[in-house]
């Protein structure tokens, strides 16, 4: 197989990963890494490096659209980015020293967890109680525009959310994924943010988090240009196509199908990790 054939296959696979990732909200990384490691036998560190780059690209592209709608909360985003970047740097350093098969096993477990979460129906009813002390100190309470006017919301359990974000950051740096699922848990379930605010703010934070770990991967030589080029171009094109062209299509069956595919990939990663093939 020549470089041009190899690059075109990776490009096509990444396009598909970006497309499905954007439709299901899980991101391209969860498909990219198993594809590169299981099919092309790429070292998982290079796969993570390439995936991180594509995560930055898709998150920045999507955030550009979101921030203009004024829904994302830039203060919550910035405040929690302290947690995610701290986690991301630790995760990336861990990944450099962790054995490949251990990373593969952790990846598989996180993948199954994310797939399960993607099927769960999210609570779209806003439950509002008195804001906590910290959310006032950090000026996190805000409002967001809807068709029926501006809706005010209070933020809860700032400390718990912050801790969960450190975990999300570690996972992101260790595995090269956006770990949007964990960020959403932190904001939806712990901090009780409205559905729309948490989705857009999470997306907003993913790029900064990934950039924090990408620096370490770059210095260690794990950002390979020949491999990252088709991955990033493919994922971005796929995500763009998914968000603009297919946005109105029914995604419920797609989510279920994707969850099954991901679970299968996850088991492959765990199996290969345990048997030492990766």
């Amino acid at each position: 197989m020549t470089i041009i054939v190899f690059s075109l296959i990776i490009l096509a696979g990444s396009f598909l990963a970006g497309l499905v990732g954007s439709l299901t909200g899980l991101g391209g990384g969860v498909i990219i890494i198993p594809m590169l490691t299981l099919i092309f036998h790429v070292d998982i560190h290079y796969a993570i490096g390439a995936s991180l780059i594509s995560v930055i690209a898709t998150s920045s592209g999507a955030a550009a659209a979101y921030v203009k709608e004024g829904i994302s909360n830039i203060r919550i985003g910035m405040f929690l980015e302290i947690a995610t970047t701290l986690g991301a740097v630790s995760g990336a350093v861990l990944a450099i020293y962790a054995p490949t098969h251990i990373i593969a096993i952790i990846f598989g477990i996180v993948l199954i967890f994310s797939a399960t979460l993607s099927l769960k129906k999210r609570n779209e009813v806003l439950v509002q109680t008195e804001a906590g002390k910290f959310s006032k100190i950090f000026k996190l309470n805000s409002s967001y525009p809807t068709a029926n006017g501006s809706i005010h919301y209070n933020v809860h359990h700032v400390f718990g959310g912050f801790l969960m974000m450190i975990v999300a950051g570690i996972i992101s740096g260790l595995l090269g994924i956006g770990s949007g699922a964990l960020k959403v848990i932190a904001m939806d379930n712990i901090m009780k943010l409205p559905f729309k605010v948490s989705t857009t703010t999470s997306n907003f934070m993913i790029g900064v988090t990934a950039a924090a770990s990408a620096g370490i991967y770059l210095h260690r030589g794990y950002i390979n240009p020949g491999l990252s080029m088709p991955v990033v171009l493919g994922v971005v094109a796929g995500a763009f196509f998914g968000s603009r062209v297919l946005v109105k299509s029914e995604t419920k069956w797609l989510r279920i199908l994707f969850a099954i595919v991901i679970t299968f990939l996850a088991m492959q990663m765990i199996y290969n990790g345990i048997s030492g093939n990766l």
């Binding site: 020549t2 470089i3 041009i4 190899f6 690059s7 092309f40 036998h41 790429v42 070292d43 290079y46 780059i53 930055i56 690209a57 998150s59 920045s60 592209g61 955030a63 550009a64 659209a65 979101y66 921030v67 203009k68 004024g70 994302s72 830039i74 203060r75 910035m78 980015e81 302290i82 970047t85 701290l86 740097v89 990336a92 350093v93 950090f138 000026k139 790029g207 900064v208 950039a211 924090a212 770990s213 990408a214 620096g215 370490i216 770059l218 210095h219 260690r220 030589g221 794990y222 950002i223 390979n224 240009p225 020949g226 491999l227 990252s228 080029m229 088709p230 990033v232 171009l233 971005v236």
Partner: protein
């Protein structure tokens, strides 16, 4: 300060959106250009699978990348595009510092600087040895 000139979160977010999309487009064009040169020059040779299996790339610092770009090394051009992509969210954080300063929200100026310091730690390679 009157309300007309007051800088709001919305203004900051609007500029941020433009900044992000510009960063992604510019880096995408650079990666695509480098990729086309790369495939034109080496497309028919066999990929060094070994490079993807534990042999780190030479293009790991800004200095190495720029010296490669000057010599029109296609891989260095791709790497420059990837570097611009990594820089995009960082530019956003830098811009937040400026935005919060303009809003006179000094508390969030400090928070943004803290985030910047953590990313700087990663980029300047203090931790990875």
């Amino acid at each position: 300060m009157n309300t007309k000139n007051k800088i709001t979160d919305y203004d900051i977010e609007s500029v941020m959106g433009t900044l992000l999309i510009t960063g992604v487009i510019i880096s995408g064009v650079v990666v695509l250009f480098g990729g086309m040169v790369y495939l034109y020059q080496m497309g028919s040779s066999l990929p060094h699978y070994k490079t993807f299996r534990g042999e780190p790339t030479d293009l790991r610092s800004v200095k190495q990348i720029f010296s490669g770009v000057i010599h029109f090394d296609s891989l260095a051009i791709i790497q420059l595009g990837l570097l611009l992509l990594i820089a995009t969210p960082i530019a956003r954080v830098i811009f937040s510092v400026v935005g919060f300063l303009a809003e006179k929200d000094y508390f969030y100026v400090v928070i943004s600087l803290l985030v910047l310091a953590i990313i700087g730690f990663s980029i300047l390679n203090v931790g990875a040895g």
